[in-house]
């Protein structure tokens, strides 16, 4: 044991919110685990945020309520925050710091891992391939999800992002036993957690799920560690146990708020809207923990969910997320208000890994052209609609009317589908052809003539 593991200190200098400064100490390492024991024996943990000569700034993870300046013992553990991981964690529920909350005993770890993870060497990565068929047309045809991808939901409060995520988990289930789910809930309500538990139960996957819950009523800084615990468990399952892991992280906006709170407590100079300048790097240290590794069987696919304050996509949280993730699925309030489910707005949505994983030999030869045409034509519909709203529909040309009809059917037949409806990719593509064929053949310039010959519905 290192000398400093034995060192204990008994006096806190100052408690400010969930931070404290401790003086007259030595050998405290940066970003290391701190154990705080109160007189009555309760143990809290913390992490050093800054160390200097004779002092350390510590962030307390379990909250500081009831913590007094005197009478507690502080131990610097001389190592970073760690988690014991094991395949036995599957089927279990933990709090945001990895303690079981399902009434069952502690898991015997197979391995102890640093929750901060380390960066994957870019040369070790294997490019994601193999699409995940979610059964949702707007995703499968237009924003294809790929195994090993990080594809967030940009949503708003009150929108059905949880339902869509649950539907994907249910429908994307591949018949492979190594498939599992790691769920991290940050600052969400108990109801939301229950919704997911119930949905996993109904799908019969609950035994393949690990949940980390740092609910809305737990101390905010705990949320900063929750996704890291979850991803560490995911990395263990993916890269040591060859599993395909789907990680759902919700709600990342709460995570970012906690980070902002911490930054404010430390008196740092903010970048935008009070968020610290390092929010980008911090989020990257979470989102980049997705992917595949050469010569390894497993993979980590991430579906982070975030709610955009005021539905504003330029808000720092969605903005910086979009700059890191491999696309985004945007959930739209207007479509939702019109009763369309899933209310996915396709134009601002994007899957960056789609390009390499669709088309001949992968999905279907006509897929790239059809998808691109649907985007282009739907974008045109939106323009025509806005003109029509000013000059009136009567003034529109015949072609414009066809575009409007196309747009209407696209939204009500293609985007719209049931919560329990699982369309095969084949079905979705055919549906896409049915709808695009509303437009005259000459308009379909993004589709090859050969494909038009083969699949266009109405021959001249």
């Amino acid at each position: 044991m290192n000398m400093h593991n034995l060192r204990q200190y008994t006096e806190l200098e100052e408690i400010a919110g969930q931070l404290f400064v401790i003086k007259n100490i030595h050998n405290a390492g940066y970003n290391e685990l701190v154990e705080i024991t109160e007189e009555n024996g309760t143990v809290r943990i913390g992490v050093t945020l800054e160390v200097g000569e004779g002092y350390a700034v510590v962030q307390v993870l379990g909250g500081t309520t009831g913590l007094s300046l005197k009478n507690c013992k502080i131990r610097f553990k001389g190592k970073p925050l760690e988690i014991g991981v094991s395949s036995d964690m599957l089927g279990r529920i933990f709090d945001g710091l990895g303690n079981p909350i399902d009434g069952m005993p502690k898991v015997v770890p197979e391995e102890i891992m640093n929750v901060n993870g380390t960066a994957m060497n870019p040369t070790a990565r294997a490019y994601p391939e193999n699409i995940i068929e979610t059964g949702i047309s707007t995703i499968d045809v237009m924003n294809t999800l790929v195994r090993g991808q990080k594809l967030p939901f940009f949503s708003g409060s009150g929108l059905p992002h949880d339902m869509i995520a649950a539907q994907i988990v249910r429908q994307a289930r591949v018949k492979e036993e190594e498939f599992c789910i790691v769920f991290a809930g940050m600052g969400i309500k108990y109801d939301t957690a229950r919704f997911f538990i119930k949905s996993f139960e109904e799908t019969g996957v609950l035994d393949n799920v690990i949940m980390f819950l740092s609910l809305a009523d737990s101390p905010s800084l705990t949320r900063l560690m929750t996704p890291r615990f979850a991803l560490t468990a995911a990395e263990f399952l993916a890269f040591r146990k060859d599993m395909h892991v789907l990680v759902v992280l919700t709600d990342m906006s709460n995570y970012c708020e906690a980070l902002r709170e911490l930054s404010t407590m430390r008196g740092e100079i903010p970048a935008r809207k009070g968020y610290p300048g390092y929010l980008y790097s911090d989020l990257a240290s979470i989102y980049e923990r997705a992917g595949r590794i050469k010569d390894k069987k497993g993979s980590i696919t991430q579906i982070p969910i975030l709610t955009m304050p005021n539905d504003d996509i330029t808000h720092p949280v969605p903005d910086l997320t979009g700059y890191i993730t491999e696309g985004q699925i945007v959930v739209d309030r207007e479509l939702h208000a019109r009763g369309i489910y899933p209310p996915i707005s396709v134009l601002p949505s994007l899957s960056r890994l789609m390009k390499d994983n669709i088309g001949k030999g992968k999905t279907r030869e006509d897929h790239p052209g059809l998808a691109s045409q649907l985007f282009a034509s739907y974008a045109r519909t939106r323009d025509i609609k806005s003109i029509a709203s000013i000059i009136g529909e009567e003034e529109l040309s015949d072609l414009d009317h066809l575009y409007l009809k196309f747009g209407e059917e696209f939204e009500t037949k293609f985007v719209n589908q049931g919560y329990n409806e699982r369309r095969t990719l084949e079905e979705s593509l055919e549906l896409g052809w049915d709808i695009i064929s509303i437009l005259p053949e000459e308009e379909l310039i993004r589709i090859s003539q050969q494909q038009i010959k083969q699949r266009y519905r109405y021959k001249k």
Binding site: T118, A119, N121, A124, Y127, S281, E288, I391
Partner: protein, 586 residues
């Protein structure tokens, strides 16, 4: 060798404060802690030094030792750079993976250039010949595309070669020549060291003359960049910056490409690396990897090394420029570099200006862009560096500090437009907000390659696009019906131009690259279409007749219908356009 120079007194993220006993200089390299993590002195205040550390600082403590040999952080420049991938401070990532596994650990000390590998050296100077800094004394065929010139280091003195090795196989550590400066004799190896942040000298700057042909129509035909120029590519997330960078790295006619992945995605590096080992350069038929150097600091790698990666990239670019090559440097994204600067500045508690950025941001940007350009090298060769820098403005807002300062130092601007990206019109380069100030520099090149028509075509189409923009405003208010036919034709031609010419999929096997000749033929097709249609309209032909004609349909699809091998057929088609339209008169 590195000696103990002080002790850590504070650790705040990647910034470490050191109380040092002896005189350190700015930019001296240090090794901190027992693991000897690499860092660099970035600020000095009396006997306190601030170092930014290029590796994760977890577990560093006050009191930990700091070592230094008082030399600046340096790169190794020599054979073995091409085809390789390095981290932000030039550590070879493939080798690190072999030694340490799939995840990057720290405290690694691996040499940059492979030590064992033998290179075939051909001397180009003789014993007792006089040489000066920068002179080429021999060469090595590094790849089948790149002859790596072995140069006297720019900071070595002048003198005579008291020894030069015979043609043969040598490793980089072997002495291949000896320089006698009169004051002493120095060993010359196939590589030399050069401080990361120090600009490499040249004789003088000369104006750019040639376009960098990128194979991307909207760029080459409308907003060209010259070899030796600087471009910024700003755009919100997902608008296509990285794809533009990748396309240029693949298809542009530079001799050497340095690709810096600065704070972006790991998978994007995997993407280029795997593609470049398969894709073939259309001009040389060789693998693209044989002319490319990669620098990768992905967004989850240490932030201080992100700040350094840009300098590592441009210094390597200068090194190849000094051999007389046209080098293209892609930096994706310079905003991440600026943000790294901001984070480090914040940790040093400097006083920030706008949005937390330090006051010296514009100066650093200026310094960086200043290193691009076309020059006469010390050895008399002409070389150039073209910088293509993506900028990632928060919220897609081009008025933010990094974009607005960058605009002062570049002369070409490819503004990516969110609406174009939403409708999957790629490249989403806005024809309204983009500009190029290199048109005059390079117009001779195009003139000699296109019978002097390019400039005229270009201004005609830009003019039509401007007009279209205004007409669209009217259409929004009163509908298209009321417009006279000549104005409707403008809308029609512009639509055709956007669909047939500007839109170019990076992922279409035929259209991903478009040669200058094909570009010009296509350009000509559209101009011919417009002029002829104008004539038809005057004679009473209706616009829908034109749009539904066979020839219109063929123009829309010419980009994919005619491959690079079928340009003669394309030319025949273009020549027939007017005649085909003429048929509509009846």
């Amino acid at each position: 060798m590195a000696e103990l120079i002080g002790k850590i007194i504070r650790v705040n993220g990647p910034v470490v404060q050191i109380r040092c006993q002896s005189n350190l200089k700015m930019l001296d390299m240090v090794e901190v802690g027992d693991e000897k993590l690499v860092g660099e002195i970035v600020r000095l205040k009396e006997n306190i030094a601030y170092a930014q550390v290029y590796e994760d600082t977890t577990s560093l403590k006050a009191g930990d030792p700091v070592y230094s040999d008082r030399m600046p952080l340096s790169l190794e420049l020599g054979p073995g750079l091409i085809g390789n991938i390095f981290d932000g401070i030039q550590r070879p990532l493939e080798i690190i993976r072999k030694q340490e596994g799939d995840f990057i650990s720290r405290g690694l000390h691996v040499s940059t250039l492979e030590r064992e590998k033998k290179w075939h050296f051909i001397p180009l100077k003789k014993q007792d010949e006089k040489v000066q800094p920068g002179d080429i004394i021999g060469e090595v065929e590094e790849t089948s595309l790149i002859k790596h010139k072995i140069m006297i280091a720019p900071d070595a003195g002048e003198g005579i070669l008291s020894y030069i090795a015979d043609e043969g196989d040598y490793s980089v550590d072997e002495t291949i020549a000896e320089l006698d400066t009169g004051k002493g004799k120095y060993d010359v190896k196939m590589y030399h060291k050069w401080a990361v942040r120090k600009q490499r000298p040249y004789r003088n700057r000369i104006p750019p003359q040639q376009p960098l042909i990128t194979g991307q129509r909207v760029i080459d035909a409308l907003f060209p960049v010259a070899k030796g120029g600087c471009v910024a590519v700003p755009g919100g997330f997902g608008t296509g910056k990285t794809v533009v960078q990748h396309q240029l790295a693949k298809w542009s006619d530079a001799d050497v490409v340095v690709f810096v992945g600065c704070g972006e995605r790991g998978n994007e590096m995997t993407d280029v690396l795997t593609n470049f080992t398969k894709l073939v350069d259309p001009r040389t038929g060789k693998l693209l990897l044989e002319r490319t150097v990669f620098i990768a600091n992905t967004s989850n790698m240490p932030v201080a090394a992100r700040e350094a990666s840009i300098y590592t990239g441009i210094t390597i670019a200068e090194y190849f420029r000094d051999m007389g090559y046209d080098v293209a440097l892609m930096a994706d994204s310079t905003s991440r570099w600026a943000e790294a600067l901001r984070e480090l500045s914040g940790r040093m508690e400097e006083i920030p200006l706008e949005e937390g950025f330090p006051a010296y941001l514009p100066a650093r940007l200026a310094e960086f862009y200043e290193r691009a350009g076309r020059v006469i090298c010390l050895n008399g060769q002409t070389g150039s560096i073209t910088v293509i820098a993506s900028v990632s403005p928060p919220g897609g807002d081009f008025t933010e500090p990094v974009t607005s300062h960058t605009k002062r130092f570049i002369r070409c601007f490819w503004a990516l437009d969110r609406d174009l990206a939403y409708s999957r019109h790629y490249p989403a380069i806005s024809w309204i907000d983009s500009y190029s100030e290199y048109v005059d520099d390079i117009k001779n090149w195009w003139d000699t390659h296109t019978d002097g028509k390019w400039l005229g075509h270009r201004s005609m189409i830009l003019d039509l696009l401007q007009k279209e923009q205004r007409l669209q405003q009217i259409v929004k208010l009163i509908g298209a019906d009321v417009l006279p036919n000549t104005q409707k034709l403008i809308l029609e031609t512009c639509l055709l131009f956007k669909n047939a010419f500007l839109q170019q999929s990076a992922f279409d096997d035929t259209d991903t690259y478009c040669s200058a000749r094909k570009q010009f033929l296509m350009f000509d097709a559209i101009i011919k279409f417009h002029n002829k249609s104008e004539e038809l309209i005057k004679e009473g032909v209706e616009i829908p007749e034109i749009r539904e004609s066979q020839v219109y349909q063929e123009i829309v699809r010419m980009k994919t219908k005619y491959t690079e091998k079928q340009l003669n057929e394309l030319e025949k088609f273009v020549d027939s356009i007017e005649e085909q339209l003429e048929q509509l008169k009846k």
